[in-house]
């Protein structure tokens, strides 16, 4: 009984891990590898947070088949991505392209880090200057020396 349950669980795990049907795969291993990579780059528009490589949605299946068709027809990888973007927009790319309207997305965090860092640097430098500029009066200097020496005597 246990063995049967275990076998069933293993079988289920295997199907969940691989949404690509054996029937979809291409005979040519290098084309198939490119197809898998491209599928991982493309968003499933039905489930949105999965790539079409991971998704079991019907549309994801259709797009996987389409990618393989385009590759077999001799398209390059960028051409396949272009084909998808023309129909579904940049949203289909899981990695947003670096272009004018995504500069804030790509460079915003670095800009914030630089602004914060500059502010912190400026503040720290100002504080250090204000501390080092206070000098001791001669009396205070004497008292400090006396106290320090006193401390030394006690330790000996």
């Amino acid at each position: 009984m246990r063995v049967i349950i275990l076998a069933a669980m293993l079988a289920l795990a295997a199907t969940a891990a691989l949404a690509v049907d054996p029937g979809e795969r291409l005979a040519d291993p290098s084309l198939e590898a490119r197809a898998r990579t491209l599928s991982g780059e493309l968003r499933c528009l039905v489930c949105q947070n999965q790539s079409i490589d991971d998704s079991n949605a019907d549309l994801a299946h259709d797009l996987r088949v389409l990618i393989r068709e385009r590759l077999t027809a001799g398209d390059s990888d960028p051409q396949v991505l272009q084909f998808m973007v023309r129909r579904y927009g940049d949203f289909i790319l899981l990695r947003p392209p670096v272009q004018a309207d995504t500069y804030v997305l790509w460079f915003g965090p670095f800009a914030l880090f630089l602004i914060g860092g500059a502010g912190l640097f400026y503040q720290l430098r100002k504080r250090r200057r204000s501390v080092s500029e206070t000098e001791l009066t001669p009396e205070a200097e004497q008292r400090a020396t006396a106290l320090l020496n006193d401390d030394k005597d006690n330790q000996e």
Binding site: L45, V46, D58, L59, D62, L66, R86, R87, G89, F91
Partner: protein, 176 residues
């Protein structure tokens, strides 16, 4: 005055929080379309059963509505009564594309609920759908006289959608 600069992070935080809060109320399933103002993709589809099919080029020179539907699609049933009157209401031809469906199922669906379409193309493989950027049915497109896609509506149409989006656009396009 110089002290105000210390408020800047707080102000930036409030602005971001407000933006995120507003974004929470937006529907993430409605995606921007890459096909707006693009020429309608070419297609030539067979009809359902022995009925005549649908070819892109026959729309030339007129404003038309194209509705992607399927017999297996539940929201399409919600939308259907509205479609029955839509063509007459807006005085614009409504064409149907039966998306990834068996022709006999579609025929049963339309026999049961009525057929609002001037003509229907059967997109059995869903390839025409992919060319349009369809990611779920129902979707409705408005095509202008020059054959460009001017509006895409994702999900079932409601009377409010028709009054707010479709009717004014169709009227404006027909005048132009």
């Amino acid at each position: 005055m110089r002290r105000l600069i210390y408020l800047l992070p707080a102000v930036a935080f409030v602005a971001l929080a407000a933006y995120f809060f507003v974004s929470l109320t937006r529907d993430p399933s409605v995606l921007p379309s890459a096909m707006i103002n693009q020429p309608t993709p070419a297609f030539a589809l067979a009809g359902l059963g022995d009925q005549p099919g649908l070819v892109r080029d026959e729309f030339a020179g007129q404003v038309v509505l194209i509705n992607f539907f399927a017999s297996w699609c539940i929201p399409c049933r919600t939308e259907h009564p509205l479609l029955m009157n839509l063509s007459r209401e807006l005085s614009v031809p409504l064409y149907g594309i039966d998306y990834k469906d068996k022709p006999e199922d579609a025929a049963r669906f339309l026999g049961e609920l009525g057929d609002p379409y001037r003509r229907i193309g059967a997109d059995r493989e869903g390839r025409v759908g992919i060319d349009f950027g369809v990611y779920g049915v129902p979707e409705t497109y408005v095509i202008d006289k020059t054959g460009r896609i001017r509006l895409r509506h994702v999900g079932p149409l409601t009377p409010a959608d028709v009054a707010r989006e479709l009717a004014p656009l169709v009227k404006a396009l027909q005048r132009s």
